[in-house]
């Protein structure tokens, strides 16, 4: 058994939230620089230049990259040999989230879905977070964090295709989602696609797919090829940076399937598309 202190988790989460909402992920920074080299449209180039300047300024002044500092999303892998001392893991994540958002001068964006009242007084500052727990072998605690804004979530969709629709059906659906989302999701974007599992799991996988580094390859060679083909097809739409017209709309396509075996039910083909705007705020903590 390995012991991890409650307060260490709170502090790690707090610090990670403040750092990642003010410092653009390295992979996104590189992808935007490359897009600026390749972009042919002058308006889109002007937008990309503003985004790179914004990233510099945000880091220098520790100011949020984007005013929508999102919902706090966590994917947590708890080693079977880990013991948390001083409180529960869930409350440590809540406390770290509240501290990070409040002390980092980030926006509290959680509200009651009916009355639309902000939850900062009733539940806590930008609480509750969204947490997916998994139990794994080992004595480590691994936490992936994302601050996920509303704009790119609103452009995301899930569907249940007929198995006969296969890969052409998946491609058509992804194209439809990205095309309809257009400027609203703040392109350039990363497209996360969850295929298989169940209705809910496809959506979770599409979100988790966004944690993969831009430019990394899919371990499944068949899917790696499909990702590149879909990316090329989507870039033909001409949406461009902030939807103002251009050639660099999609920086990467990441596909995740349910393992082992790329499983789904014999009667279904669930597909979900989660969009990540250029304001990519992702982080990985290992304790």
């Amino acid at each position: 058994m390995r012991t991890i202190a409650y307060n260490d988790i709170v502090k790690a989460i707090r610090d990670t939230i403040i750092y990642s909402t003010t410092h653009l992920s390295e992979d996104m920074l590189k992808a935007l620089q490359e897009a600026l080299q390749k972009e042919e449209s002058p308006v889109s180039r002007a937008v990309l230049e503003q985004l790179l300047e914004n990233a510099q300024l945000a880091a220098k002044e520790t100011k949020p990259l984007c005013q929508d500092t999102g919902l706090a999303i966590f994917f947590v892998k708890v080693g079977e040999d880990v013991k948390i001392e001083g409180g529960s893991l869930k409350s440590a994540i809540y406390e770290g989230t509240q501290k990070g958002y409040e002390e980092g001068y980030l926006r509290a964006s959680t509200c009651d879905c009916f009355t639309r009242q902000n939850l900062k007084d009733k539940v806590g500052y930008n609480l509750p977070p969204i947490i997916y727990f998994d139990i794994v072998p080992g004595d480590k605690l691994e936490i992936e964090f994302a601050a996920k804004g509303g704009g790119s979530e609103n452009g995301s969709r899930a569907t249940m295709l007929a198995p006969a629709q296969g890969i052409p059906g998946i491609r058509a659906f992804v194209k439809e989602v990205v095309s309809n989302a257009g400027p609203n999701v703040c392109p350039p974007i990363v497209v996360g696609i969850g295929i298989g599992g169940s209705f809910d799991m496809a959506a979770v996988m599409s979100k988790h797919a966004l944690f993969r580094d831009i430019g990394s390859s899919n371990p499944d060679p068949e899917l790696d090829k499909l990702e590149k083909e879909i990316q090329e097809e989507l870039n033909k739409l001409g949406i461009g940076a902030m939807g103002m017209g251009g050639t660099q709309t999609v920086l990467a396509v990441h596909i995740e399937t349910y393992q082992p075996g790329r499983m789904c039910h014999i009667a279904s083909l669930p597909v979900a598309v989660n969009i990540q705007c250029h304001s990519s705020r992702h982080a990985h903590i290992t304790l």
Binding site: A58, L65, C66, Y105, N184, L237, S279
Partner: protein
């Protein structure tokens, strides 16, 4: 793609020279409002009551900033998605609003109102909240403080960078830009 520097409030003449795709640097006063504030503004107009600011020639910025750190004028302050204001915008345009700043598509009713009453919709770069905040020199809550980030603020800006998306002639940069660069 022309470039202009404009001072608010905007006149019919100012907005008439703008075409979709033009880059504009705005200076002067902007007012911030999101859905909740828009609902209240439209209710005031319907009741014939006075608005918390002069609508004639005004430019509204759709933004819900992060809280300012001590010593800062405003926190991060980029545009929010505009369609949530679509059901209220035509009424405001009819009563003198000349400009809106946000991100994302508008519906036909808003585009029609822009044509009929001469107003423009500007796009600012979503996610450039730190950069845009630099161009904001003063910020003051003037109505509905209980709405928090959604309160109505008076901002004084200098060379605030925006792009004309919908002009007074019915052009739409999102549609035209996409057509121009699509490869199929």
């Amino acid at each position: 793609m022309a470039e202009y520097k404009l001072q608010t409030p905007l006149s019919d003449e100012d907005v008439s020279k703008l075409k979709a795709g033009d880059i504009v640097y705005l200076s002067g006063t902007l007012y911030t409002a999101r859905d909740a504030a828009h609902k209240r503004l439209v209710e005031l107009i319907e009741k014939g009551e006075k608005l918390p600011f002069e609508l004639q020639g005004a430019v509204i910025y759709y933004v819900g900033p992060t809280p300012p750190k001590p010593g800062e004028v405003i926190g991060s302050a980029g545009p929010t998605t505009s369609y949530r204001m679509d059901s209220y915008a035509p009424t405001l345009i009819e009563h003198g609003l000349k400009g809106m700043i946000g991100k994302g598509k508008r519906n036909e009713a808003v585009k029609e109102a822009c044509k009929k009453y001469k107003a423009v919709y500007f796009g600012a770069v979503g996610g450039a909240g730190a950069l845009l905040a630099k161009r904001i020199k003063e910020a003051e809550v003037i109505a509905y403080p209980e709405l928090g980030p959604e309160a109505v603020r008076r901002l004084v800006v200098e060379d605030f960078p925006v792009v004309v998306v919908n002009d007074t002639y019915g052009n739409d940069l999102y549609e035209e830009g996409r057509k121009e660069w699509a490869k199929e």
